[in-house]
């Protein structure tokens, strides 16, 4: 089982609903965010192009954060989802420094926090992660890459896609449809 997420940059309008929904679903403290929206504009007026992406932790297959964690608090859970066990985390910050996507942040409670793909509170109950469920443009897909009938497997078969800084060697599992 390999959970992955795909975001269609052609449809994403950058409304940031995914950010607020994640906040209210997961009690993310105000002032922090587990996901964010990036806008890239290229060109000169009026020859312009725009790409809008909803980003979060990529739940990498070869994640430096799991590798460098001294206590094993950062670990691979079901489906390759990278999670942090708060009572094992000492708050050393190594994983934060090791993430090329800067996806982690120090939670006020002391442990390190980041996107969890809503594994325990939603995915295990048969729902999509909060961001995927709320997106008004329905531009996000989530599912099991090892299951050819999942929405994310199907969309990756028919659309061109990319990942972020693949040269960092982390094998991210967040795909951007372009």
């Amino acid at each position: 089982m390999r959970y992955a997420m795909a975001v269609d940059t052609r449809k994403c309008v950058g409304c940031s609903d995914c950010v607020v929904a994640c906040q209210t679903e997961n009690n993310v403290p105000v002032g922090f965010c587990r996901d964010w929206v990036v806008e890239v504009i290229d060109g000169t007026y009026p020859k312009l192009e725009i790409e809008i992406r909803s980003e979060r932790c990529n739940h990498c297959e070869n994640s430096p954060c799991v590798r460098c964690c001294p206590t094993g608090a950062s670990h691979y859970a079901e489906g390759g989802v990278v999670l942090v066990t708060p009572h094992k985390c000492i708050g050393c910050g190594a994983c934060i420094a090791s993430c090329p996507y800067d996806a982690r942040y120090p939670h006020p409670d002391g442990h390190v926090d980041k996107c969890t793909f809503c594994l325990h509170n939603r995915v295990e109950k048969g729902l999509d992660p909060a961001c995927v469920s709320v997106c008004p443009t329905k531009c996000m897909y989530f599912g099991d890459l090892d299951d050819p009938s999942s929405s994310v497997s199907k969309i990756l078969k028919v659309r061109k896609f990319k990942t972020l800084i693949p040269e960092a060697g982390t094998r991210p599992q967040l795909y951007f449809l372009i």
Partner: protein
């Protein structure tokens, strides 16, 4: 004559006085961020949910409010059965809990008093505040007439207050959303098709094959249903054509982006009409059967060639032809989106007429993928005694002008508050609910002058917005999450009802508008018009009359009903009579002609920015609504201030750096109160600057919004009033940069 009204900062609440804080359950809880991460230490909670419909914007999506075991509101999601949102709320709706938890909310009624030569607010009980208001209202009614009391409203509270006011004898009710926003399109389409566009707009985006956005920035303006359907349309390969001087988000998703020179849209529309007619790219059968005035139109647009338009709009003539062809190829499943905030240069009704004409030529009105026929449920009204007939109508306020306006012109009422030789009397009192008029009306000086002439200003709001500083009485309304309101009964593909019920008790000493209106009515001796025991009784009665019940609605939230009449679209060959003078779609408008306006739209050039000045463009961001969400903690997390978009060429000219704060000065030498950070971007033309509306708040009680960014309204001093329906055109203002300024700006409203 009343003494000069000073702006009172709500922070200066007087001590002493008869402050009685009738404490309702005081929530000692902090922000929702109560650091309860779902982890091994804090297992996930069980939730209960109650239905509501959102009040943050006018789309009023229906959804569910989730509460945990302690009754604390956790999150808000959409109702899957709701046609407005299809189960998905927009970021403002999702962030609605921020409005509930905002500690800066108004907490208790306030009355203006004079103490030590200064005006301050003192806390008062509801009884006291309402007594004060009732006494003043009775006095004004006796001296001038009840019609001199006006209600300005935006949102659900309007139903309650206008009902009370109607019982009192006044029909002087206006919503700024007409003349400050969608008015021109309603009148433009009404005079053409005999019907209005409604809200949500009756456009069939999800079935369209081509959508033209001319003055609409979908994706940045978050009309939930429209953005959702646009996404569906993109999936199905629909062509999107965006006409915008700015590279909007929608432009980024369009097949064609026409970077039009600002203020020249009407020329483009006329050229399109010319191209369609010249090449016979129009629905001949439809035009023949349903329209009136085609020959006049053809003659009228003869000279409006793409080459002519090119000289005005700078859009390549071939592109004009190509895009016209695209529209025709997709017809009748083509939508020229009527937009929303269309009050730009004063000739807006004429421009919307051109959009309507284009729509008619393409045959998309009443067709699949174009404009559908919405239907609304016929809901019974709880029986009340007949209302008294007001001696004066709101239209008397603007003296015979704006005869074609199908709704009350709010700025007309505002102007009618200032004594003038034109009128025998002026408005004496305003009740304002859910709209910050100082940000909604352009030309703040005019609004302030009007306010100075009021005997009574009552502001009913949830937040201490700028207008509250000028009020005589401030009444704190609770948020939509804490109250019942009338059923949402909207025009849509299917008739539907949505229920709003409270998810929590009102915080502090706030009350719902339904209660405030009812109690005020009691003090005015109008209880006969509020015969129901409480909102639950009223709602249950209405729902039972519609074949449902309050109990059922509490469980399902939204109920869709089958359509009673007609299909969603015209049937082929159907004989349709349009609600116009000729009974047909009036390409040539007899209504306009009758009032002495151009029956066919004519392009007039508009003023261009003087040297060193740039046109002030403004718009929306998807995470905010008007100026009302600028203090919401969940939403300020996403965007806490606006930035000024400046073209790199302009930035080079002025030596501006990315992130540099600047102040703006407009053509009337008005300088912005605060400063704004510069964003150097290629997305904006070199003759314009752009910012998101709704920031630059000037009230320290709005802790997260005070001083953040610039309030564009204060720079909109030149207003181009549309002679047809009174709309206030706001895009004709120009600004220049002030790079050298003191950090602490002078406060205008101090």
């Amino acid at each position: 004559m009343s003494t000069r009204r000073d702006f009172i900062k709500i922070s200066s609440i007087g001590l002493g006085g008869t402050a009685v804080l009738a404490g309702v359950a005081k929530w000692g809880l902090g922000k929702p961020s109560d650091t309860m991460a779902t982890n091994a230490l804090h297992p996930p909670k069980r939730f209960t949910k109650t239905p509501t419909y959102c009040e943050i914007c006018f789309w009023q999506c229906a959804g569910w409010v989730y509460k945990d075991e302690e009754g604390k509101i956790q999150k808000i999601t959409g109702n899957d059965d709701d046609q407005h949102c299809n189960g998905r709320f927009c970021p403002r709706g999702t962030g609605g809990i921020g409005q509930y938890y905002d500690e800066d909310r108004l907490k208790t009624p306030l009355i203006r008093t004079r103490e030590n030569g200064k005006d301050i607010f003192r806390e008062a009980s509801w009884d006291e505040a309402l007594d004060y208001i009732a006494a003043k209202m009775k006095k004004i009614a006796k001296e001038h007439g009840p019609e001199c009391i006006a209600l300005f409203t935006h949102g659900s509270g309007g139903a309650h207050f206008s009902h009370m006011l109607k019982a009192f004898g006044s029909a002087t009710v206006a919503a700024p959303s007409f003349a400050q926003c969608r008015g021109p399109r309603e009148v433009g389409f009404l005079t053409t098709f005999g019907d209005i566009i409604y809200s949500p707009e009756r456009i069939d985006i999800r079935n369209t094959r081509c959508m033209v956005l001319i003055g609409s920035h979908l994706g940045e303006n978050m009309h939930n249903g429209q953005v959702q359907e646009m996404s569906d349309a993109i999936d199905r390969g629909a062509t999107i054509i965006t006409v915008d001087p700015r590279f909007s988000t929608a432009a980024g998703k369009s097949k064609y982006w026409l970077p039009i020179k600002p203020a020249t849209d009407l020329a483009l529309l006329l050229a399109w009409i010319h191209v369609l007619i010249e090449n016979n790219w129009y629905d001949k059968e439809y035009v023949e059967k349903y329209t009136h005035g085609f020959d006049e139109l053809k003659e009228h647009v003869k000279s409006f060639t793409p080459e002519w338009a090119f000289g005005i709009t700078t859009i390549d003539p071939n592109i004009i032809r190509e895009t016209a062809r695209e529209m025709y190829n997709a017809a009748p499943s083509v939508i020229v989106n009527p937009g929303r905030h269309v009050t730009w240069y004063g000739d807006d009704t004429q421009r919307m007429r051109a959009v309507a004409i284009l729509t008619a030529l393409l045959g998309s009105w009443g067709r699949r993928g174009g404009y559908y026929k919405p239907e609304k449920l016929h809901l019974e009204n709880y029986p009340v005694p007949p209302f008294p007939e007001p001696k004066r109508k709101p239209t008397d306020a603007y003296n015979g002008r704006y005869q074609l306006a199908n709704e009350v012109v709010a700025n007309g009422l505002c102007d009618a508050t200032i004594p003038s030789v034109e009128r025998a009397c002026n408005l004496q009192a305003w009740i304002v609910n859910g709209t910050n008029l100082l940000a909604a009306f352009p030309n703040q000086a005019n609004t302030l002058e009007a306010i100075q002439n009021l005997q009574l200003l009552v502001v009913v709001d949830t937040m201490p917005v700028e207008l509250t500083g000028y009020a005589d009485v401030v009444l704190p309304e609770c948020t939509y999450l804490e109250r019942y309101d009338m059923l949402r009964n909207s025009n849509h593909r299917q008739p539907n009802l949505a229920l709003r019920m409270p998810a929590a008790e009102p915080r502090w000493n706030t009350k719902p508008a339904s209660w405030i209106a009812r109690e005020l009515a009691a003090k005015l001796g109008l209880s006969a018009w509020f015969p129901w025991k409480d909102m639950e009784e009223l709602l249950d009665w209405q729902l039972k009359s519609a074949g449902s019940s309050l109990e059922e609605m509490k469980k399902i939230g939204v109920k869709n009903f089958p359509r009673e009449v007609d299909d969603l679209y015209f049937t082929p060959g159907e004989d349709v009579v349009f609600n116009t003078t000729t009974g047909k779609i009036e390409l040539y408008s007899t209504d306009m002609e009758g009032e002495g306006f151009d029956p066919l739209p004519v392009y007039t050039p508009h003023e261009e920015p003087p040297d060193g000045y740039y046109r002030l463009n403004y718009g929306r961001a998807p995470m905010h609504t008007f100026s009302r969400t600028a203090n919401n903690p969940n939403l300020t997390d996403l965007m806490d201030e606006n930035v000024l978009w400046v073209n790199p060429k302009v930035a080079r000219l002025w030596g501006l750096k990315n992130g540099q704060p600047v102040k703006l000065k407009n053509q009337d030498d008005i300088i912005s109160t605060f400063s704004i950070k510069v964003r150097i971007t290629e997305r904006i033309r070199w003759d314009s600057v752009y910012m998101v509306h709704g920031f630059g708040h000037n009230n320290k009680k709005l802790s997260r919004a005070h001083g953040r960014g610039i309030n564009d309204t204060e720079l909109i001093t030149r207003v181009h009033v549309d002679p047809v329906m009174g709309g206030t055109g706001m895009r004709g203002n120009f600004v220049t940069f002030i790079t050298d300024f003191e950090k602490s700006g002078k406060e205008v409203l101090s």
